[in-house]
């Protein structure tokens, strides 16, 4: 059977989310005047057409062919059609839309670019990695480069003439970047870099002529550990047209994202230029990583969405077994459509009720990034930056973990067919698995949330978030139509507050944080999702039409069937470290 790949961007949901989250306030910010809601929707509709008609048909092709490495020339060959896809993606303006207008970008809000990322990730995740990393590099140079560096690199990157990478990982240094050994030795006003980098996404490819690598390395006088890391720009081809000493030494063979080359990069006296201050590299990396982490979180939403659409298409067609209720049995048919079965519905609703709220939370976070970037009132900017910093690890970790479960649940709807290549869900599952690992593993996100974000500025960002949740609860106290949702939020919010307070108390040491922060992040995530549902339900309860009725039903499924897991997770958090640390190493 031919492979089934079905996708239509949920544009109605995009619109509704932007309306609920007060997009008008973002549109009013200086620089975003051109991006009114209707214009945004027409941009997204066009992007949807592109993703469905151009990117999606190559998704399976990429998975099957993979990327090929030629050791003789150290070059990488993409699956058929991928270099053209990149060119078309650039020509369609999808790469440049969210970047500064002064360097040739469209200047659109982050939230708009985020939806485009969702669509391209859903339809061709391997491919999406290339523009995704290029975006990350553009962010880094925009915020930390000099005017001269911005002028030399940004126009080419935004125009898609060059692409970007991030070179962090080394064989001995993954999560712990303090172990990094790549050296940078000054030479004139530049530096010579030597070392080996691994897992470099799109480190080498045939989409365009030049690749700009952002490389973490140590200067000769660098302090040991994480405080001695600097960031360098190392182009594949130098300004005079000669080949720089950075080459691809091989590719990894992976579970998924087969069309995305994961390269070993060898630096042998490669010429580079410093970005930002010496030894302050980690600061530059973090600005870039916030946006990148948000986008990785969205990968869970994106693949959960396409898997859900596939599962629904299958379920609507499939007949198996009879309805429990004789009234619901179709006369004359040997079997009923599987949507009569409560458990098939349960599986689909587990996915939908979480995915729509996760999307909403990711957009909420992106709008705060926009607020932080453009608001004229410093208090507004602070609020935006605080909320974005607090929620980014939640989005990255919760949405990828839940997105993976969701994609797996969609496979389950198809039964044996889901496990075959015919319906593509097996590819989505393989492609998505890495999202829980890269860009900071999910546990690193939990440590970031508990160890760094909660205590920062005396818990200011959590207070801001809690204030918004409390406002939503108070505002809807008299809204009888959604009273059950508000009650559910109030209860889970109270649990989250108690756990947050406990984590800040003296009895909680570093090991306890390590032991329970992942469970805590999930309590946070579920509560934040419920907050999004209450915001959506508040609007939906005042409107008429099928879309809004369905929204309310989804919110209710979430509040009554998904959210109660907060209670069991809270128990796990309170169990602390004792039963984890009780084991001796040789007992493993």
């Amino acid at each position: 059977m031919a492979t089934v790949q079905t996708y239509r961007a949920p544009l109605d949901d995009f619109r509704f989310i932007l309306e609920v989250l007060g997009y008008d306030a973002i549109h009013a910010l200086p620089g975003y005047e051109d991006y009114d809601l209707e214009t945004v929707l027409s941009l997204l509709s066009q992007a949807d057409t592109f993703c469905r008609e151009v990117a999606l048909p190559l998704n399976r092709v990429g998975d099957k062919h993979g990327v090929k490495y030629d050791p003789a020339t150290a070059s990488v060959t993409s699956p058929p059609g991928f270099p053209e896809l990149f060119r078309k993606y650039v020509e369609a303006g999808l790469l440049s839309l969210g970047h500064p207008t002064e360097f040739g970008g469209g200047g659109a809000p982050h939230a708009v670019a985020l939806f485009i990322n969702e669509m391209i990730t859903a339809t061709n995740k391997s491919f999406s990695m290339c523009p995704g990393l290029t975006q990350g590099l553009i962010e880094a140079i925009t915020h930390h480069g000099t005017d001269d560096q911005r002028a030399r690199y940004l126009p080419k990157l935004i125009a898609g003439e060059w692409t970007g990478t991030m070179c962090l990982t080394e064989p001995q240094c993954g999560t712990d970047l303090g172990l990094l050994t790549t050296k940078a030795v000054p030479e004139g006003d530049r530096y010579r870099l030597t070392g080996t980098k691994i897992w470099i996404t799109f480190g080498e490819h045939d989409y365009c002529d030049n690749i700009v690598h952002l490389v973490l390395a140590r200067l000769p006088d660098a302090p040991a550990g994480i405080k001695g890391i600097s960031v360098f720009i190392v182009p594949k081809v130098l300004e005079d047209g000669t080949r720089n000493g950075i080459t691809c030494a091989g590719l990894e063979h992976k579970m998924g994202i087969h069309a995305s080359p994961t390269c070993v990069m060898s630096l042998e006296g490669a010429l580079g230029e410093l970005v930002g201050e010496p030894h302050k590299g980690m600061k530059a990396m973090f600005t870039m990583m916030n946006v990148a982490r948000l986008n990785v979180g969205l990968e869970g939403v994106a693949l959960g969405e396409i898997a859900y659409q596939t599962a629904v298409a299958f379920a609507k067609d499939r007949r198996q077994g009879r309805a429990m209720d004789p009234e619901k049995r179709e006369r004359g048919a040997a079997a009923d459509n599987i949507l009569v079965h409560p458990d098939v519905r349960r599986m689909l609703l587990e996915v939908r009720s979480t995915n729509e709220a996760m999307r909403s939370l990711a957009v909420f976070t992106a709008l705060e990034i926009d607020r932080a970037a453009k608001a004229t009132d410093p208090a507004e900017r602070e609020r935006g930056a605080d909320l974005a910093a607090l929620l980014t690890p939640v989005v990255k970790s919760f949405c990828t973990e839940r997105g993976f479960q969701n994609t797996s649940e969609c496979m389950q709807v198809l039964g044996g067919s889901g496990f075959t290549a015919d319906w593509s869900i097996e590819q989505y599952l393989r492609d998505l698995r890495i999202a829980m690992i890269y860009e900071g593993t999910n546990h690193i996100q939990a440590l970031d949330l508990v160890g760094r974000k909660l205590p920062a500025d005396n818990g200011r960002s959590y207070k801001t978030f809690a204030g918004l949740v409390r406002e939503a609860i108070d505002r809807n106290a008299g809204n009888a139509a959604i009273a059950d949702l508000v009650t559910a939020l109030r209860e889970s919010f109270s649990t989250l507050n108690q756990l947050t307070e406990w984590l800040g108390s003296r009895e909680v040491d570093g090991e306890v944080v390590g032991a329970v922060s992942s469970a805590y992040l999930n309590v946070f995530g579920l509560t934040a999702l419920c907050h999004q549902w209450v915001l959506q339900a508040e609007v939906a309860s005042k409107r008429e039409g099928k879309f809004f009725e369905t929204k309310l039903k989804n919110a209710r499924y979430f509040a009554h069937h998904v959210l109660p897991r907060v209670d069991s997770l809270a128990k796990v958090v309170r169990a602390g470290k004792r039963h984890i640390m009780a084991f001796e190493a040789d007992e493993f």
Partner: protein, 278 residues
């Protein structure tokens, strides 16, 4: 050279199976279907753009050339015009009207008025709209204007002096080529958007266009917001009166199940005896 492209918005043709007939057969109900540009009209926009630009990268409109898009429809139809502007058209004209008060003849008469005002050198339009499938507006318009016309165009070659076109028309059994002196009316068919179907003697002969109507690049969607789009009531064109009245709509009869034949001789026999197709 100035080209006028009339556009119609139709209920999403990709979901045409979702239309319903109102009780009693009074009308076709398209509720819930997204309005989309008539595909043949999109091909007409693509053709007009190819005729008036240097197709090498980046595409640039030739000096003195312009493409004007016009529609008769509800206020929301301005979105359809904006889409055409985002593809590259230069300006748009919306004459507000309700589809129910229009027929092919009235549309053609109204278009003749638009032509009088805009004075294009060429009208390029879809051979038909995919909702009514009448296939008559282009022909009536040419007749009213007294202009030459070529229908079902699958290729257009603009002469170097821009005074005439050679149009390849799809006809039963092949392609017939007609030379038309401008101004003229051309209605286009599907194959007009093949990679080399349009020649304007500026875009190099070696250039291959992408198959189909072009995607509007996102920056062009932004730029299209600032392009001129004039709105006026349909009545301002000074034409009225529809000649068509609809008696009743019926859904086509449901398709009967097919049969399997065991071999070719049986197929031929049945085609002859039962289907009377041979």
């Amino acid at each position: 050279m100035k080209i006028l492209v009339p556009l119609k918005r139709t209920a999403d043709p990709d979901n045409a199976n979702k239309i319903k007939i109102a009780p009693g057969g009074a009308k076709v109900v398209t509720d819930g279907l997204e309005p989309k540009p008539n595909p043949f009209d999109e091909y007409a926009v693509e053709s007009a753009l190819r005729l008036t630009e240097n197709g090498t990268n980046p595409k640039a409109r030739l000096a003195g050339d312009s493409v004007v898009v016009a529609t008769f429809g509800a206020k929301e139809a301005s979105q359809t015009l904006r889409q055409a502007l985002a593809m590259g058209a230069d300006s748009g004209l919306l004459f507000e009207a309700s589809d129910e008060n229009l027929d092919g003849d009235l549309v053609a008469r109204a278009l003749a008025k638009v032509v009088e005002r805009e004075k294009p050198d060429l009208v390029v339009m879809g051979k038909q709209a995919v909702d009514g499938d009448s296939n008559q507006v282009g022909q009536i318009l040419a007749e009213r204007l007294g202009w030459p016309s070529a229908t079902f165009a699958m290729s257009i070659e603009l002469s170097q002096d821009k005074k005439s076109v050679i149009v390849g028309r799809e006809v039963d059994g092949g392609v017939i080529k007609l030379k038309l002196a401008l101004p003229a009316v051309i209605t286009v068919d599907l194959r007009i958007v093949a990679p080399k179907s349009i020649t304007n003697h500026v875009t190099p002969q070696t250039h291959n266009y992408q198959e189909g109507a072009r995607y509007a690049p996102l920056p062009m969607i932004m730029a299209a917001k600032k392009k001129p789009l004039a709105e006026a009531p349909f009545a301002s064109l000074g034409v009225e009166g529809v000649k068509t009245s609809y008696v009743k709509f019926e859904a086509p009869p449901a398709r009967k199940a097919g049969i399997k034949v065991k071999d070719v001789p049986e197929l031929v026999q049945r085609l002859r005896a039962e289907a009377k197709a041979l």
